[in-house]
């Protein structure tokens, strides 16, 4: 029968087949077309958590009717890979990059992918949270999380004490906050890479993200760990059996900068978005969403406990040293 069908095909059948084959490209075209309706959307690459970025986008769109944001959200490591992939296939596709640490961002600036413009309202942000190429719009504080019932570590070096074993640390190749911490400790007096070596010696486990550190401590897999204040406080507020501490010499402040891509398609829309995030209303949304804003005087967000010590890594100094830092770290925790 089938032989028969093939031997004497009727026009209609083959015609149908052809029509369907023809339909393939048409149907495929529907794919990207569907995602690019309306005015060309601003493509935003970010590593900021969903709980922060979604309200910001929502409020921005409410304030700018018709604006569209196309979002790529991933941890810093993946963001780097995405940028590299873009460069391999014809150039960066982002219009705006909102990173989680200034080192990564400076890397983009050095590659001439980002920079050349900061909004006028950037002047309102403290000096140590901005450069000529990008502006910090949120701060991550790397704090210590520990199981309820375990005494709070007074200083970071306490984590090398067997009483806190096992400890969990986030991966600086994945998480910007961990990279920031590495940047600080590597050059801090009494710490250096020896601090990480001591942690490893004490049975420290490396997990990929700060959230995994918090989760692991909450589950009882680890006694303590380094994580972001946001992650730790959120878990605690929801009932996880964890406590948060800001050990001496201080929680490491890692600011998340926003910057304009140099070869974006529609820089005006991109600039509008950046200006909004830096502005007071934008910062208010950041704060309400649970992140620490950089703009002074914005309230309603999470607060630093009074008297809690905070330290700032020397960003310009470490940015030249980034690869050496990661290599040194890799020699301790690398697999």
């Amino acid at each position: 029968m089938l032989q028969h069908m093939v031997d004497h095909p009727r026009r209609r059948r083959i015609g149908l087949l052809l029509a369907l084959v023809g339909l393939l490209p048409a149907g495929c075209r529907a794919g990207p077309a569907a995602s690019s309706q309306g005015p060309a959307p601003v493509t935003l690459y970010t590593c900021v958590s969903d709980s922060t970025i979604q309200p910001v986008i929502t409020e921005y769109k409410a304030a700018h009717p018709g604006a569209e944001i196309s979002l790529f959200r991933a941890p810093t490591g993946e963001l780097n890979a995405r940028v590299a992939a873009d460069l391999r296939s014809g150039g960066l596709k982002a219009d705006v990059i909102w990173g989680c640490d200034p080192l990564t961002m400076q890397g983009y600036v050095d590659q001439q992918l980002v920079g050349g413009w900061t909004p006028e309202n950037a002047a309102d942000i403290p000096r140590h949270y901005r450069t000529g190429s990008f502006v910090g719009v949120a701060v991550l504080y790397l704090v210590a999380v520990h199981r309820r019932g375990t005494p709070a570590p007074a200083s970071w070096s306490d984590l090398t004490d067997p009483a806190y074993a096992p400890v969990a640390v986030p991966d600086p190749r994945v998480a910007a906050s961990a990279l920031g911490a590495l940047s600080y400790f590597a050059n801090a007096k009494g710490y250096g890479t020896d601090f990480y070596r001591a942690l490893k010696h004490n049975g420290a486990n490396q997990v990929s993200t700060p959230d995994l550190v918090t989760t692991g401590v909450a589950q009882g897999l680890y006694q303590a760990g380094m994580t972001t204040a946001n992650s730790a406080y959120l878990a605690k507020s929801k009932g996880s059996p964890v406590e948060v501490s800001w050990p001496q010499p201080g929680a490491v402040a890692v600011y998340g900068p926003i910057g304009l891509a140099q070869h974006g398609r529609d820089s005006q829309q991109a600039k509008d978005f950046i200006t909004y995030v830096v502005s007071e209303p934008g910062q208010q949304v950041v704060a309400t969403a649970g992140s620490y804003p950089t703009r002074p005087g914005v309230t309603g967000g999470p607060e630093i406990p009074s008297g809690a010590p905070v330290v700032q890594p020397d960003w310009p100094a470490v940015s030249a040293d980034r690869d050496r830092l990661l290599d040194g770290y890799q020699s301790i925790f690398g697999s």
Binding site: L2, G31, D50, G90, A94, S208, T209, G220, S240, V242
Partner: protein, 584 residues
């Protein structure tokens, strides 16, 4: 028979209207027909080249001409490869016996709860691999379900042992299906009865008759198990992601998605090519050995065209491999039923319950008791981003399933000619080419223009799943009685009318089945999507994977359940329709 007669009658009824129209056909001459056929073949061939041949060729060329000298530099390639192959062999060594035992056990007609068990055993196919793996970590890991209830954590569930176990669970249904089909097709009850009445006990029948008859099916299942394990990404990533345990697919993902230096990229390409080479080393010899055996019919003799009056007498109690006193018979069946039930509870039910508990629990470390239950996690993940991703996933799955059904049918029809057979072979190759390789090949071939678009993801689905659609349709065409179309045409129906009135109904289950299997697979596909997505083109499965990587258990569990529901609900909705079509 009455059904066929009815079809013929209906075909005959349509004759007066369709007759004159089709009778005009042959006058137009066979030349135009041949032309049309050639164009159709060329069109399908072009799609094969675009989807399969060119990307794979390009991958080989790029890797082959790489001069960076870093192809295998800095990466413990040998170790990753060894891990992957060892995992594939270990999974196969466990899944094949388990699936075979399940098929043999459930072939007995008197197993309590048989109907439910036969459906339940294949359910893991409908649970996305990532969700299955993740649910196991929630059920058996530290701080998981058994840890909470009995203080019994299985510490190595997040590692090679856990990956192995979850892969076994996800592979058993495939083995089960293949062996069950082989059992129905090859090991007829008569053959077992012949052995019993030759003096063989149940065990001897199993060893001497049933298993040897199933050898091709079991071997095919083993090959498929090895290939699918080599291809697996979601389960290893979900369960082995944080340790030193790395498979080739994980290494490709890490190099592409986490590495930003050029060396990582070429290493990913090299790994992708290596993976397809390893797969072919397994598949090609197996196909050469198995192909003829799986295709072979029973040759001359009873199963030939001889119609035997009375041959269709009832085969109820069809295992018929003899009987003992009633009590021992049911005892054995009860053991089978209990064993399978226990397996399903441990492998699927408990992990799913643990996942639900994790999704309902507000935070990690809070006891999953009803007092603490909340829908907060579901609320938090049902945001604009995941809803949009769900829309994309559903749209992609529907579009891919529709196109794949058409493409599968096209190759199945063209395959009846020599050139079509070559196409079918190529399409089948794409199925065994690991998803990671397909994605990487498409990325370097079309990434410059299509990188990060849904179209590229769609192309990947089409390339990888084409054979999945082609196989069932081709099988249905093979089984379609050759006389029926001719009878309809002899009754005066034109080809189109004959196809519509006679062929459409019997082929409908295969078409619908192909659509479903492609839709389901596309819906929970993550291996390729995670390598290909870009801004605004994440699928739901990618969101789930990302959420797990960030490390938020509650939201990930909630997303996992939503993803599973998105896969299960349409299938459950379509199931009655498929069944109805099958039984007619």
């Amino acid at each position: 028979m009455p059904v066929a007669a009815g079809r013929l009658r209906s075909a005959a009824r349509t004759q007066p209207t369709s007759g004159p129209a089709t009778r005009g056909g042959p006058a137009k001459g066979p030349v135009s027909q041949r032309l049309v056929r050639a164009v159709a073949t060329l069109a399908v061939a072009a799609v094969v080249v675009i989807l399969v041949l060119y990307p794979l060729g390009r991958l080989a060329v790029v890797v082959g001409t790489d001069t960076s000298g870093q192809l295998f530099g800095g990466a413990p390639v040998a170790e990753v490869l060894r891990t992957t192959v060892a995992l594939a062999l270990a999974v196969t060594a466990a899944a094949v016996p388990l699936g075979t035992l399940a098929a043999l056990g459930l072939a007995r007609s008197d197993v309590p709860g048989r109907r439910v068990l036969r459906v339940a055993i294949v359910l893991p196919l409908l649970v996305p691999g990532f969700v299955l793996g993740y649910s196991w970590t929630q059920a058996y890991g530290r701080g998981g379900f058994t840890d909470f209830l009995f203080g019994l954590p299985w510490r190595s569930v997040q590692g090679p042992a856990g990956v192995w176990a979850a892969l076994v669970v996800s592979t058993v249904p495939v083995v089960y299906l293949l062996v069950a089909v082989g059992l129905a097709a090859r090991a007829e009850p008569e053959l077992a009865r012949a052995a019993r009445s030759s003096g063989a006990g149940p065990l001897a029948v199993l060893v001497h008759i049933t298993l040897p008859l199933l050898r091709p099916s079991i071997a095919a299942a083993a090959v498929l198990s090895v290939v699918s394990t080599l291809d697996s990404f979601a389960i290893p990533q979900a369960m082995g992601g944080s340790g030193d345990f790395t498979t080739v697919t994980m290494a490709i993902y890490r190099r592409l998605s986490l590495g930003s230096d050029p060396a990582a990229f070429v290493q990913a390409l090299a790994l992708a090519l290596l993976l397809v080479a390893v797969t072919l080393v397994v598949v090609v010899p197996a196909d050469l050995w198995l192909g003829p055996r799986l295709r072979a019919t029973r040759g001359a003799g009873p199963s030939g065209p001889v119609a035997v009056p009375g041959a269709s007498r009832p085969h109820a109690r069809s295992t018929g491999t003899g009987m003992h006193a009633r009590s021992t018979r049911t005892a054995m069946s009860r053991w089978i039923s209990a064993g399978l039930s226990l397996y399903l509870v441990l492998a699927l039910a408990l992990p799913m319950v643990a996942l639900l508990a994790a999704a309902l629990t507000p935070a990690v470390g809070v006891p999953p008791t009803p007092a603490h239950w909340t829908l907060d996690n579901f609320r938090s993940v049902l945001n604009a981003r995941s809803l949009a991703a769900f829309g994309r996933s559903a749209g992609l799955a529907l579009l891919a399933a529709g196109l794949l059904t058409v493409l599968g049918a096209a190759v199945a029809v063209l395959e009846r000619r020599r050139i079509g057979r070559a196409l079918a072979g190529l399409v089948t190759v794409a199925l065994v080419v690991p998803g990671s390789t397909v994605a990487v090949a498409l990325l370097i071939s079309y990434g410059r223009w299509l990188g990060g678009t849904l179209l590229l993801i769609l192309l990947a689905y089409l390339a990888k799943l084409w054979a999945l659609a082609h196989r069932p349709i081709s099988g249905a065409l093979d089984r379609f009685p050759p006389g029926e179309l001719q009878a309809a045409r002899a009754s005066g129906a034109g080809l189109a009318v004959a196809v519509r009135t006679v062929a459409a109904r019997p082929l409908a289950p295969a078409l619908l089945g192909a659509f479903c299997i492609c839709g389901v697979t596309a819906l929970h596909e993550v291996t390729m999507s995670v390598l290909l997505y870009g801004p605004g083109t994440e699928t739901l499965a990618v969101i789930v994977l990302n959420s797990a990587e960030i490390g938020q258990i509650g939201p990930t569990a909630a997303l996992s359940l939503l993803l599973t529901g998105a896969v299960l609900l349409p299938v459950l909705a379509l199931w009655p329709a498929i069944r109805r079509l099958r039984t007619r």
